[in-house]
């Protein structure tokens, strides 16, 4: 949909007015779809000089810890196992290669588009053990919960999940708590909150960030003009020192979110500590299966234990998703790490920050990338 032009212009004017003469502001989005949408529409090239849009831990593939990737590859290699995964995951390199490479070696790896596809596969192939790679935030976790419940209802004993579902708010909280600074010393002046996740968790979920950490939060849709409008609103809040949660996507996001999905989550999962790539352990940040559903835990079924977490040498993905480094700060970017031969997950996933930089804003030879975040594009 082409945006009504006056909206874009008006929002850009508001953004410019809010930042004029003020200090430099850095806002973080925490949604892979926002990352891609921003780069695809050339958003960085129209932002005022004083505004930075940083990509945070919003890409589900990118935040998955290396040990979880290794575990998936190990599970895929087990006799009789068919591993079902969402598309992007199959290319993330682990210590023993990616799922794609495992498939090339003969492992059964299927790309699915919903958790229920994996359940259907299990039902159709009772001779195979179907393991579903459950990744993602509150957007995909309810679907996994529904799949697990369906598997129990259908009496399936050949369906399990390798679960690394995550909760986004504790990660945002951890970034604020640790006083995350970009390498040039900028803190996070506010969040562009994810449209899809917010549909499930509701606008109120961000209140603690505003209340306890004075971080303004604006929930935004994915059209370019919606993102610009959210940034303008954030700049106005930040300049006037008001920490509020504002829902600019009320068509689909309600204050309390999707109660049915939340109930589903609560029935099957409980919050727990988990490891994030780059961010390490974060309390209460995982959705793990409740004890009543342990029979569907692939780790239990196959006696899998996560190997030591060991991120690829020199790969800055962890820092990139924490907003601590730009893709171009990484010595691998565009050299040994390209979308053709990714080293880290941020270059693999179409929603990864490195992939978006590489695809949409890499104008120069890799040794002299153009700084585009600050709207410095010619």
């Amino acid at each position: 949909m082409n945006p009504p032009e006056h909206d874009v212009r008006k929002s850009l004017e508001r953004l410019a007015a809010a930042t004029k003469g003020g200090r430099e502001l850095a806002f973080m989005e925490v949604c892979g779809t926002h990352t891609t949408a921003a780069f695809r529409c050339g958003l960085p090239s129209v932002l005022p000089r004083h505004v930075k849009l940083i990509s945070g831990p919003g890409c589900p593939v990118c935040v998955t810890a290396q040990q979880d990737i290794d575990l998936l590859v190990e599970a895929a290699g087990r006799q009789g196992v068919t591993l079902c995964t969402y598309g992007d995951m199959i290319r993330v390199p682990g210590r023993r290669g990616s799922l794609q490479e495992a498939r090339g070696r003969g492992a059964r790896v299927h790309v699915v588009y919903s958790a229920m596809d994996a359940v259907a596969l299990a039902q159709a192939h009772v001779d195979r053990q179907v393991v579903f790679a459950a990744v993602g935030f509150e957007t995909t976790a309810p679907a996994t919960a529904a799949a697990v419940q369906a598997a129990r209802r259908r009496g399936l004993t050949n369906f399990t999940v390798l679960n690394s579902h995550k909760r986004i708010v504790p990660a945002m909280q951890a970034l604020l708590e640790r006083g995350a600074k970009m390498k040039d010393g900028l803190g996070i002046d506010g969040f562009v909150c994810p449209g899809h996740v917010s549909v499930i968790i509701g606008a109120r979920a961000y209140l603690p960030l505003a209340r306890d950490y004075a971080a303004p939060c604006v929930i935004s849709g994915f059209e370019p003009w919606q993102m610009i409008s959210a940034l303008a609103r954030l700049a106005e809040l930040a300049q006037s020192g008001r920490a509020e949660v504002i829902n600019e996507y009320p068509e689909v996001v309600s204050p309390d979110g999707n109660r049915a999905a939340q109930k589903l989550l609560d029935e099957v999962f409980q919050p727990a500590e988990t490891r994030w790539r780059g961010l390490g352990l974060i309390a209460q940040s995982a959705w793990v299966l409740r004890p009543a559903w342990r029979e569907f835990d692939a780790q239990v079924r196959f006696g899998l234990t996560p190997p030591e977490d060991c991120e690829p040498k020199a790969c800055l993905c962890g820092k990139v998703i924490s907003g601590l480094a730009l893709p171009t700060d990484c010595s691998l970017f565009g050299r040994s790490c390209t979308p053709l031969q990714p080293v880290g997950p941020c270059m693999v996933s179409s929603e990864g920050t490195c992939a978006a930089w590489f695809k949409y804003s890499w104008r120069q030879a890799p040794h002299r990338p153009l700084p585009i975040l600050a709207g410095a594009s010619p």
Binding site: M1, P60, V135, H196, S350, E351, S377
Partner: protein, 353 residues
């Protein structure tokens, strides 16, 4: 679909050729990884001056009157999808490669690999579709071959079609003729074939009005060339989409290619499907579209000619070649921003959430 399509390898010299020990699905995606496969493995062994031109069809026999020769394989799954099927695709793909090379199709060769157990009715349906598409394209299947393989993971039918066409004396469509100021035209809305197939394959439960645009372009292109004999270059944006051919054009002509996002026709249903799958419409395959490059003086005549044909009613100018020797393609976005356009990398993988 063009099998031997690739970027000029020298322009990508900074990207190390990906070492691979086994073929991955992504090597067949028609993106940069396909280029790696061709440049590192196929071309070093089979290269010659015609093949290395890497156009949609090879031009042979200049001394006796130039002929264009092309070949493609089709492994699409599902075999039938809204707006087309593997048979229609095989004829259109081959005919279109000839047409955009400036050739009038003369005949098509068809090889079928059938899987044991394939129902006769399915084969008949595909063959009927081949006959219908060939009639539409005014070309005959003049020779063929059939092999049957054991029942395996295969979808049932694989087709390979080769086509030969005649190029009138004096016509040579080549990216090296592209100049600053030249105008880029597309004959209609993009992205529909790839999205229709992807939805049919991956989300059969999703009901969509999207249909593949698979259509033989020989008539449309013939009309255009009669009215505007000095067309500079043409290419059909199949795998790799408009992004693939535009970026390839920039790299191969060496000039800057600027696309105007607000001018690129995309139907709302295609835009929504692409959004849902997390894909860029520019990257998605078309099977009835052609990107035409003409001199600025020919812009109006070319638009008029294309719009006079049913397959070109929505033809419009989507970009221009600029006087800048960077060999890059750039998109001017609807919000007034800019971003580069590259050939997609490998498989099109829908995103997670």
């Amino acid at each position: 679909m063009t099998t031997f399509t690739t970027d000029t390898p020298l322009r990508r010299a900074h990207v190390e050729p990906a070492a691979f020990n086994q073929i991955a699905l992504a090597h067949g995606g028609g993106g940069q990884l396909t280029d790696v496969l061709l440049n590192s493995t196929v071309l070093p062994r089979l290269d010659n001056t015609i093949l290395s031109d890497l156009l949609d069809a090879g031009v042979i026999g200049q001394r006796i009157g130039a002929l264009a020769l092309t070949i493609d394989s089709y492994v699409v799954e599902p075999l039938f999808f809204p707006g087309g099927d593997i048979g229609r695709l095989a004829i259109c793909g081959t005919v279109n490669d000839l047409a955009v090379s400036g050739a009038r199709p003369l005949g098509v060769a068809l090889a079928m690999i059938l899987c044991e157990g394939l129902p006769r009715a399915v084969l008949e349906r595909v063959l009927d579709s081949i006959r219908a598409a060939a009639a539409e394209a005014e070309v005959h299947v003049v020779t063929g071959d059939t092999k049957v393989i054991e029942r395996g993971d295969a979808a049932g039918i694989y087709l390979t079609t080769a086509g030969v066409g005649r190029i009138p004396p004096g016509r040579r469509l080549h990216p090296e003729h592209v100049q600053p100021g030249d105008v880029l035209i597309v004959n209609g809305p993009i992205g529909e074939h790839g999205l229709a197939v992807m939805l049919a394959r991956e989300m059969p439960e999703v009901k969509s009005v999207l249909r593949s645009d698979a259509a033989p372009l020989a008539g449309l292109v013939g009309l255009l060339l009669r009215r505007v004999p000095e067309v500079v270059f043409m290419r059909d944006p199949t795998r790799g989409g408009l992004a693939g051919v535009a970026a390839d054009l920039a790299a191969r002509c060496g000039w800057h290619v600027a696309l105007e996002e607000s001018h690129i026709p995309i139907r709302p249903e295609a835009r929504h499907a692409a959004e849902m799958l997390g894909l860029d419409p520019l990257d998605i395959a078309n099977e009835g579209k052609v990107l035409v490059v003409v001199r600025p003086r020919d812009e109006a005549a070319a638009l008029e000619a294309l719009r006079a044909h049913p397959l070109g009613r929505a033809a419009c100018v989507i970009g221009r070649v600029e006087d800048n020797r960077d060999g890059r393609c750039e998109l001017y976005t609807t919000i007034g921003g800019r971003r580069i356009v590259q050939k997609p990398y490998g498989e099109q993988l829908p995103r997670i959430c």
